[in-house]
Symmetry: C2
Subunit: 463 residues, 2 copies
């Protein structure tokens, strides 16, 4: 029988070391989107492996054609469920750099938070599980069930290498598990932990518009040719109608409606549009007509432009018809939308909406399906007990608008259940300047994780 | 009586020196839009002044709050018309740099052309007049009428300093003239010189869209807020309808229709849409419904986006709702549209089309009215004789789609006629990479200019 009191004492004692482990990992600029950071991405993999082996696990780097996968495992415990902790050590690009109060890769404590790119997404959250395993070991307690770790380095750019690895027969054996635990999302609110049972999918693209063979003088030629920048604007505008509905042909055919039971449950959460708008600094919330804000964020597809470029972006005026224009754009998907089908729909839409005088190239950057799991499973009940211990408050059941594209893939490949236990907060600024993670939540997350091993071990192993 | 044969001999003899003067000026990167080039802009002013004083004129730099105005004059000739040559020594920014075959500020001869930023717009064309005056002097001939030069350094960014100077009483006296000569446009086609009797105006703006107070994760927040990049696209799309008509309220109220006589005259020019599309590298010509290509370029207003920027423009994917998005956009105007009125219409349009959740800021960058002059004036007849001598072919009468915003201002302030004698070609790439000027046209322009002084002196001085 595990000595949970000894573990609790150990958790208190190890706090300075938990903080140090976090800072060490946050100092590594492991930006997966930009090839310039390739070495740092590898360095982050090694740092994660190092902390796992220090926690007493048997670990290795699994080579890929990109960043390595970090794998580690504790000894098997026959008759008990096997847990696989999934997370990622890569981070989003830090720009715009000038908006950071402290540099993105110099972790800095302010107001009880730690500020750094990757603090909440996902290095800090991954380390709650690494540290909880370390605490069990430091307290002289053997884990009551086998815990495996799979921490990848391409989550922010589509998990291509992990997808390839998952397709190999050896992966199914090595990663075999009963439940996948992922901490890469948010609590419902400050002081209100949550168990997330749904994620959106994503289909991410780059669009290239090409017009005349070179930039043209807009005086001499304006009125004669299709301007690729004007055409891009018109094209992007057509992607949604005035009601916020996406116009790709067949886009909504497979969209699951929001169930009444969910709608009712979310109403109980007391979400305030006014407060949320204030938090984001906008005058009003907007979106698809006919749905509440939580429904629009968690259970409805969206279309967002992430980047735009064309022509002259410098100071003053340059009077050209630019030869090229481009955009990055993605659709968030809900069950049962398939990103591959969305790509086909997008190509059809392009064929229907390419104006004379320009050519449109579509590049698939990455995609992944959404996932919704059963909120009534015994694993969810165990997680509820662990969170109640760690956060001293029971969790609410929510969905999350973000995507962890590999999750649907892993759930189906490993035939495992999944627990999405987010320790972050909505205002952590994941993907934004001044990303942060609340240090109290870091320590609470480590405690909840420590208890999680205990309660999950009480769940009968699925046959 | 002037010895035109002596001048012709001099023109032959001076060709190497004409080429050297051109290369010297083209080597100076006098980009007015970018403050980083401020010193080079001044250097170009001094180089122009230097070549004018070497040509025997009395010159000076007129100080302004920006780049200086270069002024020079030959001795007064009582009873003869006074000519003012207007041009500019500033150039457009050279980017995108990677598309230049030879560096933009290293003038390079290829296939009978000289390649450099500013070669055709407007340094090469300005120097035809400077060199013709130099040739008269070198041939020992006194100019038969007074020639004044006013060469400015802000034409590409709206001529703000010159506009301010024109408002001073001393300007009217110093610049007093009967006809303004401007070479800052194109011939109708290779081997077909033209006299341009109309220019479009321009109203140039920068648009800034601001949404949430910082970039947001597009998963967690997508569906809740107006995305400034999506909003910018929808806004720009609304600026024109499906027929290519501009949607600012009242925009067409003061637009002068294309006269039947002009329409007929332009039909005679034998313009080929197919050939033009091929030249520009586009699959089709497009634009406002109901007008020919020449009408759309010369006599109809247009709306062009010159630059777009928002969010992430780097490699790979970044899943953000960008906090900001921006664009540079201008309207080309035709008589009698007033850029100030267009600014008011644009502000009304913004008020009508600002979606909830974003703020739109409009910045006026520069503007100027179009101008159309009388193609039957005696000055036009004199220019026709000079061009026939210089190019060995009579000129056709055309309009030009580009804008020289200060022209309308000068014409009305000085109560002078204007001659737009373009020596460039449509495919010179003004404002584009690999801008060029045909050297044969450079020398023909110098000869036409030399004859221009002679024929203009035969026009009775207007009373």
């Amino acid at each position: 029988m595990s000595d949970l009191k000894a573990i609790d004492r150990q958790l208190q004692q190890s706090q300075p070391s938990f903080l140090e482990t976090l800072k060490t990992l946050l100092r590594i600029p492991s930006v997966s989107a930009d090839p310039a950071y390739r070495d740092s991405v590898k360095q982050a993999a090694n740092a994660v492996l190092d902390s796992l082996t220090k926690a007493g696990l048997k670990g290795e780097l699994i080579k890929t054609d990109g960043p390595p996968l970090v794998y580690a495992e504790s000894p098997a415990v026959p008759g008990k469920p096997v847990v696989l902790v999934y997370g990622h050590y890569d981070v989003q690009p830090p720009d715009p750099l000038d908006l950071w109060v402290s540099p993105p890769f110099e972790p800095t404590e302010r107001d009880g938070n730690i500020y750094a790119r990757g603090s909440t997404d996902d290095k800090g959250q991954v380390l709650t599980h690494v540290n909880s395993v370390a605490a069990w070991a430091a307290a002289g307690q053997a884990l009551p069930l086998q815990v495996k770790f799979l921490i990848e380095g391409e989550e922010e750019v589509g998990s291509e290498q992990l997808s390839k690895y998952m397709a190999k027969p050896e992966a199914a054996e090595k990663l075999a598990c009963d439940v996948i635990v992922i901490s890469d999302s948010s609590q419902y609110a400050k002081g209100q932990p949550a168990i997330t049972y749904g994620l959106r999918g994503i289909a991410y693209y780059e669009l290239h518009f090409t017009g005349p063979k070179q930039d043209l003088h807009s005086g001499s030629f304006g009125g004669a040719v299709t301007n690729p920048a004007n055409a891009l604007a018109k094209f992007l505008a057509k992607l949604t109608d005035d009601q916020g509905r996406i116009q790709l042909p067949g886009f909504y055919d497979s969209v699951k409606p929001v169930a009444d039971v969910e709608r009712d449950r979310w109403k109980q959460l007391g979400f305030s549009d006014d407060q949320f708008a204030k938090q984001l600094g906008v005058g009003a919330l907007t979106g698809e007509a006919g749905y509440s804000t939580l429904e629009r964020r968690w259970a409805r597809p969206t279309c967002d432009v992430h980047g735009l470029w064309s022509g002259y972006q410098g100071e003053g005026g340059k009077t050209i018809i630019p030869a090229k224009a481009g955009a990055k754009v993605s659709f968030r998907l809900v069950p049962d939308q398939d990103p591959k089908q969305v790509s086909e729909q997008f190509r059809k839409f392009i064929a229907m909406n390419t104006p004379a005088g320009v050519q449109i190239e579509l590049i698939d950057l990455h995609g992944g399906s959404g996932v919704v799991v059963d909120p009534e499973s015994p694993f969810v009940a165990a997680a509820q007990q662990a969170i109640t211990a760690g956060f001293e408050k029971p969790a609410v059941l929510i969905r999350e608008g973000g995507s962890i594209p590999i999750v649907a893939n892993m759930v189906s490949a490993l035939k495992a259940d999944v627990l999405l236990l987010g320790w972050g907060l909505d205002d952590d600024g994941a993907h934004s300047p001044n990303e942060k993670f609340c240090l109290a939540d870091y320590y609470r997350g480590i405690r909840a994780s420590s208890y999680l091993w205990h309660y999950l071990a009480e769940v009968p192993k699925p046959s």
